[in-house]
């Protein structure tokens, strides 16, 4: 077990280093020149050369990468080209909003998805089951930005139940969280359904019924907890989807998180911010995958620790 964990930690670290390298390489070949953006159109060649030197952009690739990497190990993500502030500070200021949105999104997708999956499995083959499964397909086929805008239209503009965008109270959180959870709810309802169907066939369910437990108790006490475990592990793997969702949802709702930060940085070619957010996002994805692995071992000890 400990051997497995340490190997996974080592692999995760390697993946993160690989990501720093690839992102750096991609942004290095980016044709847009950040120096021109900082200096402005009327800058003389001397000024441009000066700024280039200050930023270390006149060094060869491997030296630039090495400098970046060493700084990174010391927790220094560099400085934003345009905002003149520390990238680490910018990300730190915006991370709580994104984590809040992510947590609320996971809550929403589990609440809706698991409920749909449980009901479906209990009505297997029936009308309710069929309708719910079609709904789940619509969920996974709906682009988040369109769902978000239409939610804004109905619940914020027409009905005025929630604010049109922004951040602060729980009312601000409802629509973005639902938008984030909409797609995942579709996946989770399908997975929960098949997981429930699996569990409901097991002997211990028959035993529970045989000893005279009520139907509801059998389902809530014995079936659901066993069906839920493999699904919890999936959340870890889904962090990547959430990061993608964050960029879209935060830009639709004006949510001040790292997704919006990244999106604004991409439009302004503010490379240190793009690098920083990519790394932070990759960090969460790697952690998520790691946790998923660990959970699946606990859920099903038969998984070989290879």
């Amino acid at each position: 077990m400990i051997g497995f964990l340490s190997r996974r930690v080592f692999e995760s670290a390697l993946i993160l280093i690989g990501i720093t390298f690839i992102t750096f390489l991609l942004l290095f070949v980016l044709p847009a020149d950040p120096v021109r953006q900082i200096a402005g159109r009327s800058a003389t060649p001397e000024v441009i050369a000066n700024i280039r030197h200050q930023l270390g952009l006149d060094l060869p690739f491997y030296q630039q990468y090495w400098r970046y990497f060493v700084n990174l190990l010391q927790g220094d993500f560099g400085r934003s080209y345009l905002q003149k502030s520390e990238v680490a500070e910018l990300i730190k200021a915006r991370l709580p909003a994104s984590l809040l949105l992510m947590a609320a999104g996971i809550f929403a997708e589990l609440l809706i998805g698991l409920a749909m999956g449980i009901i479906s499995s209990l009505r297997r083959g029936g009308k309710t089951d069929n309708i719910l499964m079609v709904v789940s397909f619509v969920g996974v086929s709906a682009p988040q930005f369109a769902v978000g805008i239409l939610m804004l239209y109905f619940f914020a503009v027409k009905l005025a139940w929630f604010p049109i965008g922004g951040y602060g109270t729980w009312q601000h959180l409802v629509l973005p969280a639902l938008t984030m959870g909409f797609m995942g709810a579709g996946w989770y309802s399908r997975m929960m359904r098949s997981s429930m169907l699996n569990v409901l066939e097991q002997d211990f369910i028959r035993t529970a019924k045989a000893k005279g437990l009520g139907k509801l108790k059998v389902i809530m006490r014995h079936a659901v907890p066993n069906a839920i475990l493999p699904i919890i592990a999936m959340i870890g793997i889904d962090i990547g989807l959430f990061v993608s969702g964050m960029i879209v949802v935060e830009s639709v709702f004006g949510w001040p998180g790292i997704g919006q930060l990244a999106w604004q940085a991409i439009q302004r070619v503010d490379i240190p911010i793009i690098m920083g957010v990519t790394l932070v996002a990759a960090f969460f994805i790697v952690i998520g995958n790691f946790i998923a692995d660990v959970i699946s071992i606990f859920v099903d000890p038969r998984i070989k620790l290879k």
């Binding site: 769902v147 239209y153 990547g240 991409i266 995958n289």
Partner: protein, 282 residues
């Protein structure tokens, strides 16, 4: 043919096939079917205040912020979605299958290197990578398709890798080997044919993901560029009017959901018919 017959017995799959077929017809004959040119800005296509028109007799689905016919733009947009959906996903499945099969069949250091690259790609925030790539290359339809392919091959590679490994450990492969068949012959004659069901299933389901990713990139403004109509960039262009003209978001949105749904329904039916996990066979 047997597969098609089985597909036609499933209501949802038939529904999906009809939608896909309709979309293909719309895309091929767009200039004939669409009532107007997608780029013509009509003088009477805006209100006196300059706002887009709602759905009415002249313009069935209304007009957009430049006074263009929304229906015609959506019909022409089906070309973008289908071309990118099929091309990008085709390339992604090809790369994924290549990487997965080579890594799973030859293993050794080639396999390790390929799978480590795949792991690396799994940890990359996909949309962020696609946006950065799209920003590096000036987006045209083909560039957008390539960007999506570069992000989407990873899942296919992992599935193909796992299936190739489990296949190459089966008895009939051992039998072939003991008969003296060469590695290449085994790969093409005995391994690849068994992977085709999975490739068909994920090739179909993947188009749905691709259509959604194209729409998202275009919505963010880094995908297909106006004036070429794409369902995503129609929403991108018109979103400032969403409070007064929600149909400008709703209709293209419905188009995206319907097409993605259709490929999902057909793909799911194919999965049940072809049973690529080979549960029923081993």
């Amino acid at each position: 043919m047997i597969i098609l017959k089985k597909l036609l017995k499933r209501k949802l799959a038939v529904f999906g096939l009809i939608i896909i077929f309709t979309a293909i017809i719309l895309a091929i004959f767009a200039p004939i079917i669409a009532p107007f040119s997608p780029n013509e800005q009509f003088f009477d296509g805006l209100t006196i205040e300059g706002a887009p028109l709602g759905p009415e007799a002249g313009f069935l689905l209304g007009t957009d912020l430049l006074g263009r016919d929304l229906l015609s733009r959506i019909i022409h947009g089906s070309r973008t979605s289908l071309v990118i959906g099929v091309v990008a996903n085709g390339v992604a499945v090809f790369i994924g299958a290549f990487v997965g099969i080579v890594a799973g069949y030859f293993r050794g250091w080639i396999g390790s290197v390929l799978m480590r690259i795949t792991d690396l790609m799994m940890a990359f925030p996909a949309l962020l990578l696609a946006i950065v790539l799209a920003a590096i290359f000036q987006p045209s339809i083909w560039i957008v398709a390539m960007v999506i392919a570069m992000v989407n091959w990873v899942q296919v590679a992992r599935i193909m890798y796992a299936e190739t490994i489990s296949l190459s450990e089966r008895e009939f492969i051992d039998a072939e080997r003991s008969l003296g068949a060469s590695r290449i012959r085994i790969l093409f004659k005995h391994i690849t044919p068994h992977l085709i069901p999975s490739l068909i299933v994920f090739g179909t389901l993947g188009i749905s993901t691709t259509v959604l990713l194209e729409a998202t990139l275009s919505y963010l403004g880094v995908g297909v560029q106006p004036p070429i109509p794409s369902w995503g960039n129609i929403i991108f262009e018109n979103q400032t009017y969403f409070a007064t003209a929600p149909w400008l978001v709703a209709f293209p949105g419905i188009a995206i959901v319907t097409l993605a749904l259709a490929f999902n329904l057909v793909g799911d039916a194919l999965r049940e018919i072809l049973d690529p996990t080979m549960k029923g066979r081993s």
